[in-house]
Symmetry: C2
DNA sequence: CTAGGTGCAAATTTTTTGCACATGC
DNA sequence: GCATGTGCAAAAAATTTGCACCTAG
């Protein structure tokens, strides 16, 4: 019954590409990174395996930014900072989650819902984008 | 110089459709709602006007869920609850923002960035989806 | 042999855009 | 007349999917 987590070599490679970077990659990023090493790799396979990982729960979606969904293999609670110019996503150190059980209870009561998670995202300009100061150019769309 | 905020009748209608609902609509929702009243309305116009509103800052994106970007005309700080099954988005009453100036400072230091905003999203199952209990079916994709 | 995994290309879906026309001032 | 707004349809872009094949066990 194999490793129980990853199966084929490609699946393994796709997961480990996601897990071994801090950039919270998109499917295309994974494909672009792996394609040189694994010439016989197709984008569809990347998407299909990412779907498997999401279902399994071994990766999470960080959200869709600039038209691409971004993923994270780190499952411990943490928050993100997202640059609105280059869409770089960074982890916020310290592992603060910005909401405790009391807040979950509050939301459950107020919304009459069952809350299973939350996410806090800070946005602004990363250091690089502040320097190259694209002030007038505005945040690119797609 | 007209009203200075909204111009054409269609633009006005599009903005007010967004502003007068609590559902945090998508472009398509706006189109579907307005189309019967304004038969000569095209989806492209809805998208173009929404882009104008975002640039102007009179609406904000709540994020992309289930493949569609959702918008909010309420600009005061507040958090959202999102049902992972039906993608209904609700405001969380109380206007809590879950992050203060101290946190902004912390993130700015740690990430070496300039932070201009943040958003907190709780997710789970809304009351309706809990009842119709789709437990096994998992959260639909597109 | 069987099931799962994959390449490939076509299809879907959402959003953007080019162009010609309309409208208000 | 001019700038802005718009319909329409085509284009883009990201993602999903059908199908045939292939390979490990």
């Amino acid at each position: 019954m194999r490793t129980k987590r990853n199966f084929s070599a490609k699946r393994e490679a796709i997961y480990s590409a996601i897990a071994s970077t801090k950039c919270h990659p998109s499917a295309e990023w994974v494909y672009d990174v792996l394609k040189p090493q694994i010439p016989g790799l197709s984008l569809g396979t990347v998407y299909r395996n990412i779907a498997v990982f999401k279902d399994t729960g071994i990766i999470r979606s960080v959200g869709v930014y600039n038209g691409q969904e971004r993923f994270d293999a780190v499952l411990t609670p943490h928050s993100h900072f997202i640059c609105t110019s280059c869409f770089k996503i960074s982890d916020i150190p310290g592992g603060r989650s910005f909401a405790d059980k009391a807040m979950y209870d509050y939301v459950e009561q107020e919304c009459n819902a069952s809350v299973s998670g939350h996410s806090t995202v800070f946005y602004g300009l990363c250091s690089k984008c502040r320097q190259s100061d694209n002030s007038g150019i505005s945040t690119e769309k797609r």
